[in-house]
């Protein structure tokens, strides 16, 4: 019994002192780098020759909570005027980590692309979209939105999808209203539906 006890004590000492692993590390708060908390659509009216008309205005979708069950994102209603043409820029922001994700998307333009779906573009279209990015790559951070002169409806939905790691050469993938986007592979980094009202 005595020997047994000794061996046991030695064993415990061995276990606790040999490796610095007897307790876990203190936890460290993580800033969720992947998180997108704010998406802002900025509209700038332009005339036929592409010159800016009036002041720009914006609409935001935000979700400050990150992964928190029960909360839903706040999405503003996009208000546009009939027959007008706008330049739309999209800004993507992570307020938790204080990061501008727009730059990252631009830097990885070869693997990212926005698609514009929903009834505003597809079933009862009164909007049309054309990519107008700074570089060669079709991304959709910048684009031209045209509102019909006399649409059949005055409200619809605009779904903004950001696809990541898609095959940009897939036939049809260059269409901003490509409903078969899933066939080009990849996954959705953003999927927001904005209500749109035209007046």
């Amino acid at each position: 019994m005595n020997t047994k006890h000794k061996v046991y004590l030695i064993a415990l000492a061995f276990a606790s002192c040999t490796f610095s692993s007897c307790t876990s590390e203190d936890p460290v708060p993580e800033n969720d780098g992947e998180l997108i908390t704010d998406v802002t659509l900025t509209f700038q009216e332009i005339d036929a020759s592409g010159n800016s008309v009036g002041a720009p205005f914006d609409f935001t979708a935000s979700d400050a909570e990150g992964i928190e069950i029960g909360s839903t994102p706040t999405v503003e209603t996009v208000m546009l005027a009939k027959g007008k043409t706008y330049q739309m820029t999209i800004d993507v922001y992570n307020a938790v980590a204080g990061e501008d994700i727009t730059e990252e998307i631009e830097a990885e333009g070869d693997e990212h692309q926005f698609y514009f779906l929903g009834s505003a573009f597809t079933s009862s279209p009164f909007l049309s979209y054309a990519y107008d990015d700074n570089g060669e790559e079709l991304i959709g951070l910048k684009g031209i939105v045209t509102v019909q002169q006399s649409p059949g409806f005055n409200n619809a939905n605009m779904q903004i999808l950001l696809r990541h790691a898609l095959d940009k050469n897939y036939p049809g993938a260059d269409n901003p209203n490509f409903t078969n986007y899933a066939q080009a592979g990849g996954e959705s980094d953003l999927d927001i539906t904005f209500p749109v009202v035209v007046e």
């Binding site: 007897c22 936890p27 993580e30 992947e34 935000s62 928190e68």
Partner: protein, 781 residues
């Protein structure tokens, strides 16, 4: 025991089956009178040290001048004896001879003899290089020899599918977890050379961190074994054991090379064992294996990013003398594996799109490249084991194990974040076992011990993701005692155990520290028996209680699961799972027929499962299903069957099958991911000539898997249809000088069938692997 060698004749028999040279000493004597001459002597011969049966021991009935050799269960029968007094002599190489005088009056005579090992040339009782095998009355199946050789190149889960009642729960082709009687992950236990493997087994996509090449035998215990092995051994235990270390001068090397066409897989393993000449009892083994494979091919397309890169090492050195045995062991497992690209979904509509498509969107092409999403896992284990013979019947054992498991999971992310793991866990485990064995020349033997498990899990900071599970510390203390009684054809076994477990956790969520301190305790017990109805027929039955405390992920999970477009929410109020498993096995070992039938009943109280809440979580990224951990009472039951029959010397056939049912008895519905009915049969033709014992065999086999009709109420896709696969294997053994060369050629899924397996989580995204050609070479020198 007396060792009298008077009037002895030495006879040498070469046992062709085992290749063991058995020296038999036969004694001559006198004759007694007899009347009733229809009696028989039955008995069982086992090792004194560990109660394992001794095969091919020689029994001689002096007066009758009749003998018998024990079968693989250690049983023997000498028939047609008249009543009277007989002198029995029992001999087995390297063991002390047993001489016993018995009085035979009735035909029910039966006795168990325990043989004591004697070191050749030394007057000692030490078992040189003997392995501590499982001693249990529960149903046990093992994979070894030719079958193990045939499975080389496969991961642990896939290899074990060869045992009836064992299937896999997998995530694609590279990750598979063994399932015993419908239980997997933290409900079964894997032992790496005697140490309980501690990794992140709680995850469905976390494969066991072990290299099957380190084993020369893999044993599956199908019963509840909490008493022997500690919490979590509810559904069964898998023992991955290397061969015992040599204790005399020897130098043996074995090289195995495996090549597979599908995925262009290459796998090599080298083992070297040696024994010292100078220091008697000193031996060592060193083993290393490497594996590389690329994108596997389903019949119509390549599965993108499904490559595997693996590097493993193990080594051990041991010394044993008459009283003391010491062994040090180290193993390293390192893997980097790709996860099918299209399985990483951004949100629920991505998931629905690919499920509807039924396969990845792109056809892909072959590549060895492994990109995100991927996993990188390194597991290290160091062990020190020692035993000391206090006396002839008492042995003191000590074992210490250290494990470090480092798991990194990389997701498809943006920019620099791609270089960072999104899950980065370091798990340290220390285990201490201290126990005594007692073995007596009467029929009682047992083990009493104490067991400590200490665990510390840390999230490595800098992932840029709120950790899925918190940092935690766990401490478990267990006290146990088991006793076994053997008499004649009967063995009875019983054991009890008490465990106390404490977990403390801490994690920041949204800058807020959340901590918990939880205690669990449990009593478990088992009772088992084994009865040799006849030398060919054995029945065993075991009823055991088992438990496991809820795992940290079940208590505290909070995060996004990209493979399932799900948010999983833990529940800190979960109670321990408690189960009873009653398992019965009937085994028949005839000349031409071998049959094994296992039936079990396994009710579980507070079974923890992941339940879809039906709610969705909405974010700017899209929507996700919400799952939560719940508890309900469950009833598992089922049957396993394995049989083989030799039609002629050349032609034989086998059949294996299993059925498992798992019901939620509270909700009266079924649990997800329970294996569907499964059957595997085949025929073999042996080309070997009569005098040639070397393998030269062709086997055609067929695997039939039914559709899972017992589906849960909610699943993101229905169970895939039934499928049938055909495989062919040819194996041949050659001698090169005194060295052995084993060659194997296999074709799996000959017809290149498109199929999905219910137990593969990637059935949502892809068809399984198509046809594969494999070449396996094993050379021993």
């Amino acid at each position: 025991m007396l060792v009298n060698k008077i009037n002895s004749i030495y006879v040498c028999i070469v046992n062709l089956k085992t290749g063991i040279l058995v020296t038999l000493t036969l004694l001559l004597g006198y004759k007694t009178q007899a009347q009733n001459c229809n009696l028989s002597i039955r008995g069982k011969i086992i090792h004194l040290e560990n109660n394992e049966p001794i095969e091919a021991a020689y029994v001689w009935v002096l007066e009758a001048k009749e003998g018998a050799i024990t079968d693989q269960n250690g049983n023997f029968t000498v028939k047609n004896l008249c009543s009277g007094t007989y002198t029995l002599t029992i001999q087995y190489l390297g063991h002390k001879e047993i001489k016993d005088t018995i009085n035979l009056e009735s035909s029910t005579f039966s006795k168990t003899y325990r043989m004591e090992e004697e070191a050749l040339g030394l007057q000692s009782i030490e078992v040189h290089g003997h392995r501590d095998a499982v001693q249990t009355t529960t149903a046990v199946s093992a994979l070894y020899g030719e079958d193990l050789l045939e499975s080389r190149g496969e991961n642990l889960g896939e290899s074990l599918k060869r045992i009836s009642g064992v299937s896999t729960f997998s995530t694609g082709n590279s990750i598979s977890k063994p399932v015993i009687h419908g239980m997997h992950s933290n409900r079964i236990m894997i032992m790496n050379n005697g140490i309980r493997l501690e990794g992140q087994q709680w995850g469905a996509e976390h494969a066991p961190e072990i290299d099957p090449f380190l084993a020369d035998e893999i044993t599956v215990v199908k019963g509840a074994e909490t008493v022997r092995y500690g919490p979590e051994a509810m559904g069964g235990v898998i023992l991955v054991n290397p061969a015992p270390l040599p204790t005399k001068k020897i130098s043996k090397t074995s090289l195995t090379l495996v090549g597979g066409l599908n995925g262009r897989m290459g796998n090599a393993n080298l083992v070297h064992v040696g024994g010292s000449e100078k220091i008697k009892g000193l031996g060592y083994r060193i083993q290393g294996s490497a594996k590389r494979s690329g994108n596997v091919k389903s019949p119509d397309y390549f599965q993108v990013n499904t490559g595997v890169s693996e590097l493993n090492l193990s080594s051990s050195v041991g010394y044993s003398s008459s009283k003391l045995g010491v062994e040090a062991y180290y193993s390293l497992f390192h893997t980097e594996l790709g996860i099918l690209s299209d399985s990483h979904t951004g949100n629920l509509s991505d998931l629905e799109n690919i499920i509807e498509n039924g396969r990845p969107f792109a056809d892909g092409e072959f590549s060895y490249e492994i990109v995100n999403p991927k996993q990188r896992v390194t597991h290290q284990l160091a062990k020190l084991k020692s035993h000391y013979h206090i006396s002839e019947s008492w042995k003191l054992n000590f074992q210490y194990g250290f494990q470090l498991n480092h798991r990194q999971e990389f997701d498809k992310r943006r920019g620099n974040l791609n270089e960072k793991a999104s899950l980065d866990l370091e798990l340290y485990t220390n285990t201490i076992d201290l126990y005594v064995n007692h073995t007596h020349k009467n029929e009682l033997s047992g083990t009493w011990g104490i067991n400590f498990i200490q665990q510390a899990n840390s999230n490595v900071p800098g992932t840029g993701v709120t950790p899925l599970i918190p940092n935690y510390d766990m401490l478990n203390t267990g006290l146990y005692a088991m006793e076994k009684y053997s008499k004649g054809p009967l063995e009875m076994e019983a054991g009890v155990r008490y465990d106390f477990s404490n977990v403390t956790t801490a994690r920041y969520i949204d800058e807020e520290l959340r901590a918990a301190d939880l205690d669990y305790q449990n009593f478990s017990a088992f009772l088992g028996g084994l009865y040799h109805i006849s030398p060919d027929l054995t029945f065993n039955s075991n009823i055991g209680s088992a438990w496991r405390p809820p795992n940290v992920n079940e208590l505290f999970s909070e995060g996004l699961h990209h493979g399932a477009a799900a948010v999983e929410i833990g529940n800190p109020d979960l109670k321990s799972e408690k189960s009873f498993k009653w398992i019965n096995e009937l085994q028949y070992d005839g000349q031409k027929t071998h049959l094994e039938f296992t039936a079990y009943l396994n009710p579980i109280n507070d079974y923890i499962y992941l339940n879809p809440t039906g709610e969705i979580y909405v974010s700017l990224r899209g929507t996700y299903n919400i799952y939560e951990y719940l508890q309900a009472n469950a009833l598992f039951y089922g049957f396993d069957f394995a049989g083989s029959y030799e039609f002629t010397d050349k032609l034989s056939a086998y059949l294996k099958g299993s059925i498992v049912q798992a019901k939620n008895t509270v909700e009266d519905n079924y649990f997800p991911f329970i294996p569907p009915n499964r059957m595997d049969w085949g025929i073999s033709y042996d080309f070997a000539k009569d005098v040639d014992a070397r393998t030269n065999k062709l086997t055609l086999s067929n695997v039939l898997v039914a559709q899972q009709k017992r589906e849960p109420d909610f699943d993101i896709a229905p169970a895939p249809p039934a499928y049938a696969l055909f495989n062919v294997a040819y194996s041949k053994q050659l001698n090169i000088g005194t060295n052995k060369l084993n060659l194997g050629l296999q074709v799996q899924n000959i017809l290149n069938t498109n199929y999905k397996d219910y137990m593969n989580r990637f059935r949502y995204f892809t068809y399984d692997m198509g046809r594969n050609f494999l070449l396996k070479i094993n050379y021993e020198f």
